[in-house]
Amino acid sequence: MGALELKGVTKSFGKTDVIKGVDLIVNDGEFCVFVGPSGCGKSTLLRMIAGLEDTTGGDILLDGKRMNDVAPAKRELAMVFQTYALYPHLTVRDNMGLALKQAGVSRAEIRAATDKAAAMLALEPLMERRPAELSGGQRQRVAIGRAIVRTPKLFLFDEPLSNLDAALRVATRIEIAKLHRELKATMIYVTHDQVEAMTLADRIVVLRAGKVEQVGSPMELYNNPANTFVAGFIGSPQMNFLDAASMGYPPGRIGIRPEHLTISRESGDLKAEVSHVEKLGGETLVYACHPDHGLLTVRLFGEHDFAVSETVYLTLQRDRMFQFDPAGKRR
């Protein structure tokens, strides 16, 4: 029920190719996250799946049926937008029920469906209000409720948390994860935030410049990145890249995550100078400058006292080290 398949999908605006051939299968009930830097085409791809942009080439299949020329409303999907996009002239209840009303569902059924969705999202006290009377977090919950009411085959989320403040973002993220567990629906979620991708996804699709760089579960991407781009994009703080040749490896680059570098005042592989220290309480980030490799990040758990311009020695955990060829591909 609701598996999505993309076959060689392309999109061009005039002469610019935005999506350069994407093949992807999203399984039933899967939470799939499209992640990538801004301008990588992830939102465009989502809008193509929704039918809001037409497809230049390739096929979009929902449930095995070709959807390229089907109107958005007939694709049996629901979308949650970054800017909430609630209808300003309608109450929360009417906002949530509009799609069903358009589809000709009876009043009693609409009422039942909106009530059920409202109960799931704790929106009952707000049902008769208008969007202008709601806070940002409430608006996004209504937008999510509007999607749930339709019981779609596919949920599409377009950066739904970007307009919320940090605390609300975490709360809403948990809410979306809970929702996915309860509804067991197929969801596609677009974000540029790798933390959201890691925490929510069953499978992450990393996009760059209109192409899929790698598809895999969060831990696959973390432990087994296909190239320097994925390695750098997944994981926070970013992975350190070192010049391989100067360390006696074949030319290219060596990748090591900040948590897999150890630091010592006495001895180690690389002698470096501390240039900045960030203390977060639970962890400490030490930025050390090395003459050959530039700025390296070390992530330590707990509190540590390192002073700026102190000399330290860094050691790489060899088994957690990645080797990349000069083109950036994993060796």
């Binding site: 996009a85 609630l86 300003p88």
Partner: protein, 278 residues
């Protein structure tokens, strides 16, 4: 800088604005007061207020007796309201199409329509007259409505398409996913959001149409299609001008347009200050 220290500036600003208001309102004021005075009193002391001594309604009596001024008013209202309706409807629809849809020649079409702002429609008077004669529309209100609609569209499209671009794309897309037709999206989602801009366009379109003398004189000078502005001209003669009647007719002509303006003005103020105050 607190609000208190800028008090002087506030007073200065208000003084400038009040002066401007006085200058702008003065001619209107003179017209209205003199319309209530006798002919002799108008010339003796044009700035005197209407007093029992010089009070005279002869102007209004002439206007209401001579000619069919009620009909002229009706004609003016029909032409103005109908043209306004069509300008807003077609202007908003064209603006929506230009700002929302990507199609070949989109920019060119926008430029072509904007050209109308720069080229006055009166340059085409002869051709327009020829067309109206050929189609048998001379001396009909339809002719005026058509011309005024054409005259108002360029500016309407130009202003409205800018505003339509600012309407959230997500909102329109949400409507599409929920199964609203493009017409429903346009009428129920987009139009209410650009209402202030519509009011602005309405006022800018309405006033020149109401005041126009040119096209009524050329296209519809017949008795049954005269507008107020044209009707008032009967009192202006080559040798003798019935000032009482002219002033009375002009005073009366202010009323309907003032009413329309008041209807739109609340929205207009929101349109002009949109963005200024969040």
């Amino acid at each position: 800088m607190s609000a208190r220290t800028s008090l002087g500036r506030t007073i200065a600003a208000h003084a400038v604005l009040l002066t401007y208001t006085l200058i702008a309102l003065f001619p209107v004021f003179v017209i209205v007061i003199n319309s209530f005075k006798s002919r002799k009193a108008i010339f003796a002391d044009p700035l005197a207020l209407p007093m029992p001594a010089n009070f005279d309604l002869v102007g209004y009596q002439t206007v209401l007796k001579q000619g069919d001024f009620l009909l002229y008013f009706q004609n003016s209202l029909i032409v103005t309201v109908a043209s306004l309706f069509f300008v807003l409807l077609f202007g908003a629809m064209a603006a929506f199409a230009l700002s929302e849809y990507r199609f070949k020649g989109n920019t060119l079409m926008g430029l072509y329509l904007a050209l109308g702002i720069m080229i006055p429609i009166r340059l085409g008077t002869v051709a327009i007259l020829e067309i109206m004669v050929a189609t048998g529309l001379v001396n009909t209100l339809t002719a005026l409505i058509l011309v005024y609609t054409a005259q108002g569209l360029p500016l309407a499209i130009f202003i409205l398409s800018e505003f339509m671009k600012s309407v959230s794309k997500d909102l329109k897309d949400a409507g599409r996913i929920d199964g609203l037709s493009e017409y429903r999206i346009f009428f129920t989602l987009v139009l209410p959001l650009v209402r202030p801009a519509m009011a602005t366009v309405a006022v800018f379109t309405m006033i020149p149409i109401w005041n126009d003398l040119w096209f009524p004189l050329i296209l519809a000078p017949a008795e049954q299609t005269k507008t107020v502005t044209l009707g008032a001209q009967v009192f202006i003669g080559q040798f003798v001008t019935n000032w009482n009647a002219v002033l009375a007719a002009l005073s009366l002509a202010i009323v309907p347009v003032l009413v329309l303006y008041l209807i739109f003005s609340r929205q207009l103020i929101r349109g002009i200050t949109a963005g200024a105050v969040k």
